[in-house]
Structure formats: structure tokens, C-alpha cells
Symmetry: C2
Subunit: 449 residues, 2 copies
């Protein structure tokens, strides 16, 4: 983080407008009610999705800008979907525009790591019952460190994705149909009492979710087949991260509900692509303000280290936007085993985040902090004022593909300063003209939707 002084004074009238706008945006952030209503192929439910569309994480880029593992992931997606029969053919099709690549964020989707979506992939459909929005997330591939969303592709990855499509998706869809819509916030609220922080630890939420559907599984009998149900239960038992995707879709629905309130400085999105870390701000439309990749304090799987990390995308940090993940890390002492750190530090980290948020969450509470509500509602202005950026719990992808560890990610201030400059230019033009200069050096990666 920079130590350069940043002008933080807005005019009094601009500050009044901002305060009012933030109250509205915060209310929407806290009262959105994400409910899982269906599991269906992306092509059938995701707005604008076509058979030749591939979605990937992060602020939107043009195809030629994608590099490294994220580029390879997009090419592999084309192979998986049968849009090309070789990597070379896929390159050509993407170059020519026959295959198009968009950001997940342009399609109400949220991406885990590279976040790769193709048309045939099943997605969770999460409706916000309060404000009417819909968000989508595709399904967790399982615990192998080789997954398409971590930049790996081989027969095992392909078979796993097809299993999700042919077994998991129809079983889940049938179970949800029998059960009825599943409110996700109550599951998340409860999981925080059971040692999850709902980004890098989802063990309890996955169990609660499974339990919620157990009666439906029993009622299903042979539809689609008893073996399929047993397979799905085995997948649940083996995969403690199953719920992450439900939680991510919930977080996306929550963040989207709070987005678009004019003059609000609420952070309504954080997203990583191969080039940058980006944020969006409630009052600043669909622009992503981008900057350097986060610093990280990681714990690595055997044989890997910090030098092996490659940034290939990631939007699961929407969970932090919604007030969980690193913002609830003190709820998850067992997380030390996965991403390092010690519990005292986790408590301190978690407590520090109250200084950059607008509220304590009315439902999400941290037992170890005396059931204090999680810090929620990241305020761009407080980030600048405190020189403290949000923390993020995250998985780490390796330059040779696959997951290689997990850790605590700390974004640079640069994208926040860029956003703040833009905010002043738009909402407080008296001194905005001078301030905007602060952020101009970071605007190279800014992307309009």
C-alpha cells in the first residue's frame, strides 16, 4: 500500500449526499434475500449466453489481453464445449470472434478463480427475493487440485465436468424442485456458528445444505436414479467446498442489490483477472477500477511456494463484499490449517476491518467476538481514509495449472484511489478536478462494461 498522502475531504454537501446514498445502498446490501431456485444449463438461464460464449472472471478484457493461465483456461473451455478440436483451432476461433469471451460480471455470473463458464455447464440460479435480481454460479468441480477453474485440463477434469452436468445437476435440480426454493442466508448465518467463514471454509454450510435436501433425496426414489443420488451424496461427503458456489451466488445477488445507488461509495464488487485486481463502486456504474494484484500471505501445498503463484482470475471475493470470508475469519479458527496464520492474528485482522465498513451485520455474527456482527459494507472513503484495504481469503493457482495453496490476499490501495478520484470528479467536481490526477496513473487497466 502506498504512503502518499491522499486528499479525503469532500465538500459538506457532497458528504451529506454520500451519507444518504450509503444508507440506501447498505440497506439493500443487508436486506437482499438470496434464494436458490434452480440448477440449469447456462445457455437456458444466463442472460446473453450463447453456445459460443465463454465467461471468465474479472474486470472485462478483450480476448488478446488474456494471458497465461487465464488464457489457457479459456482455450480449454472451448475444447471442453466442443467449440474447437485443438488449442490452435480455439485460438483462431477466438481471434476471429467465432467464439466470444466475456466477463462473468457482464452476465450476472460470478467466477471462482478463472471462473470458466460454457453454455452446457449447469449453473446455480439464485434469486434475490427482496429486490428481484438473479445471480448465477457454476458448480464446484471437487477437491482434486486440478480443475478447469484452476487452469487445469485433462481427461479427469473433463470427466468431472461431465459428471456435474449429467449426474449432479439433474439430482440437485430435482431435489430443489421437491424441496422448494432454499434461502441461503439462514444457512450462511448458521455456518458461521459452526466454524465456517464461507469463503475458504465451507464445511459446515455444505453439511447444512446437504441436510436441508436429505428428505428430498429420499423422496426422489429412482428419479433420475438411486445410484445418481448416492453418487451425489458421496460427492458431498468428500467435498467440503460444495457450498462455496451457493455462497458465491448469494454474495453476487447481495452485492448486485446494493449496486447502482447514485453517490454511494459502497464497494459492490471485487474481482481479479490475469492483469489486475478490480473493484466497482455502487455509485459509479459498471466501471471497474483496477490496479495491482494483491499482496498475499499464503500457505502452500507441498512442493510449491510464493514464486509459483499465478493470477488467473477470481471473484469469490464477493463473499467479502457481502460481509463473510476474511470479514468473518475469526469465526473459522480451523482455517489456519488451510491458509496459515494463527488465531490471534485472525481475530486482530477481523477486528481491524470494522474500521473500513459501514455496519455490523445483523445476521452474520462471530461467536469468538461475542456474537458481534461481521464488518460489512466496505466504504471506499474509509478505505482511503484509513489506508486499509479489505482482506480476502483465497485459493492460489499455480503457473503450471492447478491449485497450489491458499492464503490471505491484501489488495493495493491503487484501484481504490483511482475509484475515489473518479468519484470526486463525478460527485464533487469543485475539487474533483485536482484529485482526479491522483488516479490517472492507475487508469490504464480501467474497463468500461
Amino acid at each position: 500500500m502506498t504512503t502518499e498522502a491522499v486528499e479525503i475531504t469532500l465538500t459538506e454537501s457532497a458528504e451529506d449526499v454520500r451519507t444518504g446514498a450509503n444508507a440506501v445502498a447498505l440497506e439493500r446490501l443487508l436486506t437482499a434475500e438470496p434464494v436458490l431456485v434452480d440448477v440449469a444449463p447456462a445457455r437456458d438461464v444466463v442472460p446473453g449466453m450463447t453456445d459460443s460464449t465463454i465467461l471468465t472472471s474479472g474486470a472485462p478484457l478483450d480476448w488478446p489481453q488474456y494471458t497465461g493461465g487465464q488464457r489457457r483456461s479459456i482455450l480449454n473451455a472451448a475444447l471442453y464445449e466442443g467449440l474447437a478440436d485443438s488449442v490452435e483451432a480455439a485460438e483462431k476461433a477466438l481471434d476471429s470472434g467465432r467464439i466470444t469471451v466475456h466477463s462473468t460480471q457482464q452476465h450476472q455470473c460470478i467466477g471462482s478463480v478463472a471462473g470458466i463458464y460454457t453454455a452446457s455447464m449447469p449453473v446455480l440460479v439464485v434469486r434475490d427475493e427482496t429486490y428481484g435480481g438473479t445471480a448465477f454460479c457454476n458448480l464446484y468441480e471437487g477437491k482434486s487440485r486440478h480443475r478447469l477453474n484452476y487452469g487445469s485440463y485433462n481427461d479427469e477434469v473433463r470427466d468431472g465436468l461431465q459428471w456435474l452436468q449429467n449426474v449432479m445437476a439433474p439430482v440437485l435440480a430435482t431435489a430443489i424442485d421437491l424441496h422448494g426454493p432454499i434461502p441461503l442466508k439462514p444457512i450462511m448465518t448458521r455456518a458461521l456458528r459452526l466454524g465456517d467463514e464461507l469463503h475458504s471454509r465451507n464445511t459446515a454450510a455444505s453439511m447444512i445444505f446437504e441436510r436441508e435436501l436429505t428428505t428430498s433425496f429420499i423422496q426422489m426414489g429412482n428419479t433420475p436414479s438411486a445410484a445418481a443420488v448416492t453418487d451425489v451424496l458421496e460427492f458431498f461427503r468428500d467435498n467440503d467446498y460444495t457450498f462455496l458456489r451457493m455462497g458465491m451466488a448469494a454474495a453476487k445477488a447481495i452485492a448486485d442489490a446494493a449496486h447502482g445507488v447514485p453517490a454511494s461509495t459502497l464497494v459492490t464488487g471485487m474481482a481479479i483477472n490475469c492483469l489486475s485486481f478490480g473493484i466497482r463502486i455502487s455509485g459509479l456504474g459498471d466501471q471497474w477500477f483496477t490496479g495491482a494484484h494483491p499482496q498475499l500471505d499464503g500457505k502452500f501445498f507441498d512442493g510449491f511456494g510464493p514464486d509459483d503463484v499465478e493470477w488467473i482470475g477470481g471473484e469469490s471475493c464477493f463473499t467479502e463484499v457481502a460481509g463473510v470470508g476474511a470479514f468473518a475469519q475469526a469465526a473459522a479458527p480451523a482455517l489456519q490449517a488451510y491458509q496459515g496464520g494463527d488465531f490471534t492474528t485472525m481475530m486482530d485482522n477481523n477486528t481491524s476491518l470494522y474500521s473500513i465498513t459501514l455496519a455490523e451485520h445483523p445476521q452474520f455474527a462471530i461467536p469468538a467476538l461475542g456474537f458481534r456482527g461481521t464488518p460489512v459494507g466496505i466504504d471506499l472513503v474509509e478505505v482511503i481514509r484509513q489506508r486499509r484495504t479489505p482482506m480476502i481469503d483465497g485459493g492460489l493457482a499455480g503457473s503450471s495449472g492447478g491449485q497450489i495453496g491458499a492464503g490471505l490476499l491484501i489488495p493495493d490501495l491503487d484501484c481504490f484511489r483511482s475509484a475515489y478520484g473518479s468519484y470526486r470528479a463525478q460527485y464533487d467536481p469543485v475539487d474533483g478536478a485536482t484529485t482526479h490526477g491522483h488516479s490517472s496513473s492507475h487508469s490504464g487497466q480501467e474497463n468500461a462494461r
Copy 2:
């Protein structure tokens, strides 16, 4: 706790013998492997159980010694079992010996609160696969504060007990039969990472246990009936304490494995009855050393306070003997909501218990303490030396029947001093003769099996 000085020096040779004996007893405590193998009526599986036997918690007493709520519970058990058609008739039958009352501990059973067992009640059968012992626990009655084991009896209590017998027991027995024996320590180990301490909080363990059987529930089809399975799943969903009884049976099997090692000062049992708190010691046979009821720091349900507490029995403190419960309280920050306290105090309490235990548990670990193993193996001599008694998480029964709260129980030193006097008399007679005098004033409630 008393402040009177206590002589703690054993002769060197006695100390050597004790150290060796404790190593053996501790090894047995840590390597017992409790496995749930069946659910069956007490009369069919509990050694010595007859149709007219009633079992209740705590060091054994003669029938006339039982008073208050524990006495009423025994009389109600006679009504429930159809051994008498009125309280008066039950009194007579117990006075005459037509109905006999024994301690659960005399029959390899473990009692929750009053711990009432009758012949028809289903019990969990837990086998220690390492040392071959078997322990039994009857089933959790559900979350109503009125339960037979909490001294309540009415139509609702009776119907609940009959439901356990007619629905829960056959469903569980069938599921276990399909599944095969269920090792309990792995469930307990995992639950400690999910916010349980396995005495007053069992939410995660209950979910893990249910999940373990889900596939069997699906396979069961209509045996005994689909409605019964759904009923059982609903009970599980509503009752976060379901696993407590499995954990208690496991703790009893573990403690029994470590009991009976000559010269060992390991505490192998703690138990409450209406008159006293009692302990047994590995090297001192089946004698219970008894003393005053514990001090308690409780949190009460609305309308109740400390003056309403009545001691009607309790053996769930075997969980503390096995290294969980209050000995793992730092694993369960959410427990504050149930039994009060704050998390810093819970961490401190938990840490203090290492001073009176022989080991850190090799499997049971506390995430918030950096995965340090729980303090396990309470050493009578260290209790005396440190003037620190074990802590116990416990539910509280009210003088008018029913549960009225929960809290942290702290036993008096008296029974430990009594046991220590007896130990010296038996194993270090040189100075044991003088020391034994210390404990003679507490021997009034000592009971031989």
C-alpha cells in the same frame, strides 16, 4: 475449594510405581476405540438389567437415600415402564424391593442428568474395539425442557419416550445394520473443528452422524417405513443434542478402558447424584469418592435463577474425563449463547486444565489454540497439587422439574482429597496413615459398588 494445606509427597518408590501405572492407564484412555454397533432395548443388552430394574445416575445409593427430583424421576420411571400404576404404588414397590434401583455405573451405562433407564428403553450399544469393553447410553429425548431425565413426567414426556422406542430405535438400528459399525472418535475429532465441545454443544457432531447414515436411510426404503425415516430426520434437524448420547457412551467406553490399573491416579469417572458429586480413580477399584455438589456459573432460561437449581444426577461429565466438554470449551465459542461466559474466559479456562492432566490428546484438537490437543487424563495428584478441580460443562435441572439452564460446574476439592487419602493408605502406607485422616470427614457419602 478448600485452602487447607494438603500433603502431596509420595515416597520415591510409590511415585515411580504411580508414574508407570499412569502411563498404562493413559495409553488405554487415548487408544480405546468406541464404535456404535447397535440400538436395542436395555433388557436385551445391558448386563444384569431386569424388567423391574431402574437405573439412575451417580455413585450408588440405597433407595431410601434418593431424594427430591432424582427420587421423583425414579418413581416416574416405574410409571412409564408400567411397573406401578401410581406414584404411591411405585414407592411401595421400591420400598419392598419388588422394583430395584441401581446406579447406571453398576451396569456399564451412563446417565444424562437423572439418567433414568427402564428395561424397555432403547440404548445405544458402543463397543470399544481396542480393549473389548461395551458401554450403553439411552437416547436423547429432544429439545423440550421437560424430559424424564430432567425430572419431568407428563403425557408429552411419555409419548416422546414411546416415539424413541417405536420409531427412532428401529430406524437407527436398521440404518446401523446397513451401514456397519460407526467409529465415534473420528466424528468427535471432526466436530471439534466445527464448533462443538461435545458436552454442551453437539450441533456439528449430530450433523456428521446424520450424514454418516444418510445413504443407509435412502437404502432402507420402507423398512420400517418411509414415514418413520422422515420422522427421524426431522428429529435430527430439530435436535442439535442428538449426538450427546453417542458421545457419552463413547466417553464411558473410553473411561472404562482406563479404569482398573493398579496404582494409577487417573480419574476414570465423575458422576453426580442427589446427594453428592463423586469420582472414581483407576487404581482404586469401584469405590466412588464423594463430596459436595459443584459450584456453578450458570446461564438460566427466562424466569429461572441459581436458587432454582436442583441436583438430580448427571454423568455426562464422563465427556470431560475423556478430554472433551469443558476440556475442549475453546473449540466452541458459540457455547456462550447457551451457558454464558465470554470467549476469552473460555480460552483461559481451557488452557488452565492442562495443569491437571497427563497429556494433550493426540486426536481431539482445539483450532483456536493452534490445534493443540485437548487436556486429557485428569490426574488426582495434580488436582491436589494445583488445588484445581476439573471443570464441567453441564445442563441444569430445576427444583420444579425440567431443564432451567446450563453452566460451568466446578467441583469441590473434598472428594479428590478423600480419594487421595485412600490412595496413600493403599499404595504408600508409610505416611498414608497420617494423610488418610484428612479425608475422613468427607467419607460419609462414600459408596462401595
